[in-house]
């Protein structure tokens, strides 16, 4: 060995040397960390998609990441899937919020690693849009989705955020409206004005999500959020700011609103339809209404994230859930809006075979315009505004300045 090198390696280092080394390596790392690569992707060519799918094989297992209360506790639909196909499943209730889920997944996907899930469920909105733009979603092979083609409702095949269902198929839709506690509120609430009524001062709950609260601010002003402009957002922001500063709002909630309204901490709150029906079934004093000024309709979508280990099995499960009988079983528990219209007939027939309270419950469900909306009901409902990245920054700033004050 070179004696000079040996001496260099073995000579004692002073403390200052160590600091200098540490400083140098930190500086080097800082330089290396210059910039976070953007990964904006052009849409893949059909050939490439075909090529991808032709190489994939069934692996006999699938990992499904979903939201809480989106699957009956006994997981019967998944068990039947396992019996029918021999594919074993893992079901994980790991998604609580789109933003948080995206925020945590993005660095993993950017590093080219797998999330460990084969199907994830995300709501239409900015995060889903970013997932698609960044190329983090595997385009679907529709030749392997015959049940979807046959059974999905027309509305669920034409969606502005994913034309032609290139990347996603709906899991369920729901409505954002108003829930109120019938122990404390003695009137029938029909209007969004209830959320701005001084009578309920300090007993009003709003949602902290910028798009959700933004839509409600705009409904209250008679603005169609889908066609709204920056000026509209600012007007809605002022209205919501006044609502807060007048002390009307108790808190800006995430999913925890549902406990607050059923316990009576808030009396009137923005709410998601299915949550409220589940609580009603449990005998809690809550009621849901779509305000006459309008409500928000959203769709939770199944997609295959990039790097998923079992894409073929994932497609098979997605398609399986579109069998009307399976969709009906799911719907009976979930109580949001099923993307399979045939579910209504199946539940109606099932109701005819039941007796007593079960029959009544099921019949109420089948008759509910919130679970099976008519065309007129759909006409009252609006989606989130599609936002570009630049618009999103302004939009979030307007509404977060209210919720995050």
């Amino acid at each position: 060995m070179d004696p000079l090198l040996l001496r260099g390696m073995t000579q004692p280092r002073t403390r200052r040397d160590v600091f200098r080394l540490a400083g140098l390596s930190a500086a080097g790392l800082a330089l290396a960390a210059c910039g976070v690569q953007g990964q904006k992707q052009a849409p893949p060519k059909p050939d490439a998609v075909k090529d991808f799918w032709s190489k994939q094989k069934k692996n006999g297992k699938v990992v499904f990441a979903n939201w809480p209360e989106y699957m009956p506790p006994d997981q019967a639909p998944l068990k039947k899937f396992q019996q029918a196909t021999g594919i074993s499943y893992e079901y994980k209730e790991v998604i609580q919020e789109n933003a948080e889920f995206f925020g945590k997944s993005e660095p993993v996907l950017r590093a080219g690693q797998s999330l460990g899930y084969d199907i994830v469920v995300m709501t239409n909105g900015v995060q889903l849009q970013k997932m698609i733009q960044l190329g983090y979603v595997v385009p679907l092979d529709h030749s392997q989705l015959p049940n979807f083609a046959a059974n999905a409702g027309e509305k669920y095949k034409q969606r502005s955020y994913d034309p032609g269902n290139q990347y996603t198929v709906p899991y369920t839709s729901g409505i954002t409206g108003i829930a109120y506690n019938t122990d404390h509120v003695k009137e029938d609430i029909t209007s969004i004005k209830a959320l701005f009524d001084p009578k309920y001062k300090g007993r009003i709950g709003m949602m902290s999500d910028a798009q959700e609260i933004g839509n409600f601010g705009m409904f209250a002003l008679g603005i169609d959020p889908e066609k709204s402009t920056q000026a509209d957002w600012e007007k809605a922001g002022e209205l919501l700011k006044k609502q807060r500063d007048d002390g009307l709002v108790r808190k800006y909630y995430d999913q925890s609103y549902i406990d607050a309204v059923s316990k009576g901490d808030v009396w009137v709150t923005m709410a998601w339809s299915g949550d409220v029906f589940q609580r009603q079934l449990a005998g809690e004093p809550v009621k849901f209404v779509v305000p006459e000024e309008g409500g928000t309709i959203w769709t939770d979508n199944m997609l295959i994230p990039k790097g998923a280990a079992n894409p073929v099995d994932a497609l098979m499960l997605m398609d399986y859930l579109y069998q009307p009988a399976v969709a009906a079983e799911l719907e009976e528990y979930i109580q949001f809006i099923s993307p399979v219209p045939a579910v209504k007939d199946i539940l109606q027939q099932k109701a005819a075979t039941l007796k007593g309270e079960d029959k009544e419950t099921l019949e109420t469900m089948v008759g509910s315009p919130l679970i099976f909306p008519s065309e007129a009901d759909y006409a009252k409902l609006r989606s989130y505004r599609t936002l570009t990245t630049a618009e999103e920054q302004i939009f979030n700033r307007v509404f977060q300045s209210i919720t995050q004050a």
Partner: protein
């Protein structure tokens, strides 16, 4: 030669650990904090120090509020914690270790769950206030949840043992003979406490304040679960900027600002206490 190297070799694992998990992330965060861009098109290093001004301009309210909440919670912890530590140290007798165990017992449950449990306890019509309202002792509109009081109370509760334990250790080390000597010199009980026990326990108090004030200021959980409107703390903002807005530069700039403010605060505090060396005092 080998003997001279030994201490460095022994320290090597911790140096590597610190380099990998402290220096690298900090350097990366410093770099991100002056970048511009967005998550879709990517971020580029533009040395935009305006990020700091922008972040501070938008969120100074929440930053100041966090310092106030953290300060109030720390004072409350001191007021509650000191007597507890004193009692265990001087009156605990043979059951000292059991008392300490009882103190730590709730901490076998996760932080978030404990905070949610407080939410249930303090619910408007919950076990406590529901009952009191039922007896007509409170007005039906009375509530604690969704106020700054609830957030500060939550912070106080959640970090209290970290205040008590160092103070306990400080008091435990006070030599009983010194106290006896003070009595022999005709000191009153109050004078003994003020002139002997309190000064000797100050390093413990210092460590306790350090260990509770810093995490309390940065905590996002209590404000989120127990707070209402206008109770947002800086930890919540950093979380929203990072996870919701994917605005990594602003989140990093805020984190650095918070760190700087806390460091300055701690050194000022060390000075005020007359401690020559912060680290020495904390380690004593």
């Amino acid at each position: 030669m080998r003997r001279r190297l030994t201490p460095y070799l022994l320290a090597l694992p911790s140096w590597l650990w610190l380099a990998a998990f402290l220096v690298v992330p900090l350097a990366a965060m410093a770099s991100v904090s002056t970048q511009t861009g967005n998550v879709v098109d990517g971020f580029a290093q533009t040395f935009s120090f305006g990020n700091y001004a922008d972040a501070l301009g938008r969120y100074s309210t929440q930053l100041v509020r966090s310092l106030l909440y953290g300060g109030a919670a720390t004072l409350a912890m001191l007021a509650i914690g000191y007597p507890v530590a004193y009692w265990i140290a001087f009156r605990g007798g043979s059951r000292k270790s059991m008392y300490l165990f009882l103190l730590l017992l709730p901490f076998f449950v996760s932080f978030v769950l404990r905070t949610i449990a407080w939410g249930f306890l303090l619910a408007d019509d919950g076990i406590l206030f529901g009952t009191l309202k039922g007896w007509g002792l409170l007005s039906p509109d009375f509530h604690v949840l969704a106020t700054s009081f609830a957030v500060i109370a939550g912070l106080t509760y959640n970090w209290l043992p970290f205040m008590i334990l160092p103070i306990y250790v400080g008091l435990e080390r006070v030599d009983p003979r010194v106290i006896e000597a003070a009595y022999d010199l005709y000191a009153t009980r109050f004078t003994v406490f003020r002139r002997v026990v309190l000064p000797l326990s100050l390093p413990g108090v210092f460590a306790g304040v350090l260990m509770t004030f810093v995490p309390a200021v940065a905590d996002p959980i209590n404000a989120q679960i127990l707070g209402g409107t206008n109770n947002t703390m800086i930890g919540n903002i950093i979380q929203v900027e990072y996870l919701t807005n994917n605005n990594y530069p602003t989140a990093s700039a805020l984190s650095f600002t918070l760190m700087a403010v806390l460091l300055v605060g701690i050194f000022a505090y060390a000075r005020a206490l007359g401690t020559e060396n912060v680290l020495e005092a904390a380690a004593r």
